[in-house]
Amino acid sequence: MQVPILKQGQYLIASIQAALSDQDLVQLRDALAEKVGRLRARGVIVDVTVLDVMDSFASRTLRDLAHMTRLRGAETVIVGIQPEVAFSMVQLGLTLEGVDTALDLEEGLTFLDKKTKRSTSRG
């Protein structure tokens, strides 16, 4: 199940549609790291609303994704972590340290607007 990646202005939005295997997650990570450069994106939103499980691998891969895109010059925000998923993650000790998160897509866009404001106002 490939994750569709949409370009919206200077942002890329990856909206996860169904449960993902490890391979799907790795593909998403690599596709975003590549597209950030090719499409000259300044921000990335990964919407995980439909994910009903976030285990250690998913958590680590999303963290790597955020750090990789930052190294490529774009900010990433993870949106839509469900309350019961957040609870499981905390119990497991997965905190997504160093990764920005927001409640939903709307909040994610607002967050990115703020975060990338300085650089856009110069352009």
Binding site: A19, S21, D55, S56, R60, R63, F87, S88, L92, G93
Partner: protein, 133 residues
């Protein structure tokens, strides 16, 4: 009422199938959403350990009735190399934050009962149990 499903665990896709079954059974039995999520997440971690460390194994998911209390039992079995240092593997911080460790202390926190048997000759069997509240 009692059901038992056995999954062969070999690839990352098997991990997803096993945890989906766990969630399905939990919600059929009337477990709360939070507890269903904890069960699915625990299955995911156990199946992942099988793929990572033993290459293959199986996950058995079943329900059980003790008196009038319902629980889900998950058994993760492999004939892999076994866990050399169990106390270390059960130490917190050994593998959290998505590190490369087994994450077993985390799994233990997700469930009500956790039982681990492992040695180099016969592999590893982990049994977890979650009671319906």
């Amino acid at each position: 009422m009692a059901s038992e499903t056995i999954f062969s665990i070999y690839t990352d896709v098997d991990i997803v199938l096993a945890r989906q079954k766990g969630r399905e059974l939990a919600s059929e039995l009337g477990f709360a959403l939070t507890d269903s999520t904890l069960i699915a997440t625990a299955i995911s971690e156990l199946a992942r350990n099988i793929v990572l460390y033993a290459k293959q194994g199986e996950i058995v998911i079943k329900n059980s009735l003790v008196g009038d209390r319902v629980c889900i039992v998950v058994v993760a079995r492999d004939k892999g190399p076994g866990i050399a240092d169990i106390p270390q593997a059960m130490q917190d911080g050994f593998s959290t934050s998505g590190g490369l460790g087994l994450g077993l202390p985390g799994v233990k926190r997700l469930v009500d009962e956790f039982h681990l048997v492992s040695d180099a000759n016969s592999g590893t069997t982990i049994t977890i149990k979650k009671w319906k509240r």
